[in-house]
Symmetry: C2
Subunit: 227 residues, 2 copies
């Protein structure tokens, strides 16, 4: 379903380059639940953005659902992202000018749903995440954890085939973090959703079937240790 | 050193009010290391902002270093904040238009230091946090954890008497989180710095001498359990 071949990402620095990802090759099959771990600055968010069609690599090939992504126009890449992908950002990236309700509804606007279908889906998510009372507030009126929950609700709203989640529980208490991981597990096991999460937590990583370790932009893969 | 009496914070909602903090009274002595814990939305960041002189309560009194804060002008409150307080924000709040070096240097500009003294202090912090290579980059070119480290470096730069830290390790790997907590412990035990941290982590809370639990804006206090 997802296949990276010799992917590199670098930025200009002085007269040379600083490499953020180096020669990354990996395959993710449909239905997998993969965790990406590694120190700060090791390239996890960069890798997730490339996988989620939000950023282009400097070199290498990316096959997403058998489509060679690097040959696509930006418009085609954006369509693919909107049709198949839910993305939870490390810094939430909610739209400040939209309410909580409107932020969660945004991905549904591309799905050809009726207005009442959208309304019912958003209401269901607000209820499940326990934030009904916040639906008319704006992101800057929410706590850090509440913003994180809205980001997750938005990512799962359109029932995407793949969810990319960048440290989805960093600002949550352990009970709430557990609820989010149980939701991901349910989506993966009951609905066959492919999940790729970046996490610093061994507890969260244990929910997946595989761990990819990044270090200075290099990749190593290990099966999930039994805790 | 810090004394809150009957502090409440609310926002207008419809025809009524939504209470974020309810009737909070607490004292923090100089040299304490206090952790504030509680679920998402329980008012922790709000309480920390009031303690850090960044927000005003709706009701109640706040004595900071024997000064009744609610009687002060905004300018006086800002001076107090700049002279005595280091604040680590939950969402970092780095200045996008300034480099990493300039962000860390900002609090030193109010301290009447010579340019070479500032240069030496910033160099020392960049080195200690292992981010020398990033000093000329802008915040949007850093990883989430790197931004968090710059926020912490900025908060400790001017050697403040009190540090307020809002979930300072949420985006860090456990080794780096430990380094930050060891730094706080050192500042507290060797330099007598008062530390008030908001944290979701029991491991981090164990570094302090006292835990304050917030729930729906109400406060309860417990000594630190031995783990
Ligand atoms: N301008 C505002 N208008 C309405 N409600 C607000 C406003 N600002 C904050 N709130 C509410 O105050 C409550 C407490 O927020 P706060 O950020 O203090 O929580 P917190 O305990 O730090 O949570 P977290 O652990 O998620 O960071 C939240 O329910 C939030 O929605
Ligand atoms: N525009 C840029 N110019 C230069 N360097 C950049 C740029 N964008 C990102 N980087 C660098 O890429 C590296 C990897 O960043 P990335 O955000 O992928 O790390 P990460 O593994 O997600 O870290 P964290 O765990 O802290 O979130 C960092 O060292 C960062 O400074
Ligand atoms: Mg990251
Ligand atoms: Mg908070």
């Amino acid at each position: 379903m997802i296949s990276l071949k010799n992917i590199s990402k670098y930025y200009p620095a002085g007269f040379g380059r600083v490499y953020v990802l180096r020669n990354i090759s990996l395959d993710i099959a449909e239905g997998e639940f993969v965790s990406i771990m590694g120190p700060s600055g090791s390239g996890k968010s960069t890798l997730l953005h490339i996988l989620g069609l939000l950023e282009e690599p400097s070199e290498g090939e990316y096959l997403f659902l058998d489509t060679p992504v690097q040959k696509l126009s930006e418009k085609r890449r954006t369509d693919l992202h909107r049709n198949h992908i839910g993305f939870v950002f490390q810094a939430y990236h909610l739209i400040d000018e939209l309410t909580v309700y409107e932020n969660i509804e945004t991905p549904l606007l591309y799905k050809g749903m009726s207005s009442s279908e959208r309304k019912s889906r958003v209401a269901d998510l607000l209820d499940r995440f326990n934030i009904v009372g916040k639906k008319d507030l704006f992101p800057n009126q929410l706590s850090g954890g509440q913003q994180q929950l809205v980001g997750i609700a938005r990512a799962v709203a359109a029932r995407p085939r793949v969810i990319f989640a960048d440290e989805p529980t960093g600002n949550l208490h352990s009970d709430q973090a557990k609820e989010i991981m149980e939701l991901f597990k349910k989506l993966n096991q009951e609905d066959g959703v492919t999940i790729v999460q970046v996490t610093h937590s061994d507890v969260n990583a244990a929910y997946g079937n595989r761990i990819l370790n990044l270090k200075d932009g290099w990749l190593e893969s290990t099966p999930v240790p039994t805790l």
